[in-house]
Symmetry: C2
Subunit: 151 residues, 2 copies
């Protein structure tokens, strides 16, 4: 028997866009683990280091805007990376509210060990180059057009 609700039910997992997004992100991040284990980094620590490899130095606030993370998440991650001596944390001189994150030489050196991670991971996403390109473009379109959190 088929009721009208079965015909097109928006509350079916298979009819949602959010679920494959959620599952896909989670499963891809999970497949990073063996590569990141070699560097003794978690995924969150890894993307933090990627920003630092590029920027060398920035405030927690700016890092949070780039990674879509708040201080509640970043503070412990940054303390961990400070312990590993990949970065330094110090209050900004011109604005004592801000905290300056600075990459260290040891943090810079880590990049050469991470150089093979992206290629290893790329094999997990089995798409044609133009499909990957399209996926990339659509994800950034969604991300860039996101409405504010409440309202």
């Amino acid at each position: 028997m088929m009721t009208s609700a079965d015909y097109y039910d928006p509350l079916k997992l298979g009819n949602q866009l959010c679920f494959p997004l959620y599952a896909c992100a989670k499963e891809i991040v999970r497949r990073y683990k063996p590569y990141l284990d070699e560097l003794d980094l978690t995924y969150t620590q890894y993307i933090t280091m990627m920003v630092l490899w590029e920027k060398k130095s920035l405030r927690v606030k700016e890092l949070g805007e780039i990674l879509y993370l708040d201080s509640g998440t970043l503070t412990p991650v940054l303390k961990k990376l400070e312990q590993k001596q990949y970065l330094t944390r110090q209050r900004s001189a011109e604005d004592e509210r801000g905290l300056d994150i600075h990459i260290t030489p040891k943090g810079e050196a880590l990049k050469s060990k991470a150089i093979n991670v992206p290629a290893g991971m790329a094999k997990c996403i089995r798409l044609e180059p133009e499909e990957a390109q399209t996926l990339y473009r659509l994800l950034y379109k969604v991300l860039d057009d996101l409405p504010p959190v409440t309202g």
Copy 2:
């Protein structure tokens, strides 16, 4: 100055496919919160209920395969939903290892309250219908072709 590393650096956040996937999933789920707060459900509880609205009854193992979650995550979620009386948990009669999850009438009734969630959320993903269609297809392609976790 532009060094060869800047030309195409795979270790730049902007050159990775995983990061927008991760950020996008996270931000979309975050925007579910106001809608799910009205139902007093978390996102994980919500997708669990979606499976139950469709299947009525299944084992924890099968639920985990559908949601890409293991018992470490599901056990506390299912206990919470049991507390709320949306489902029952009982050992399978024919195989005492298995745990049968069953939706309750109260769980069924919740569906009518959730009916407006997907439409509210759809407004968060600002894509043309055919773009959303493409994104959906590509995400499932990645998900279906995922290599095993180790190896």
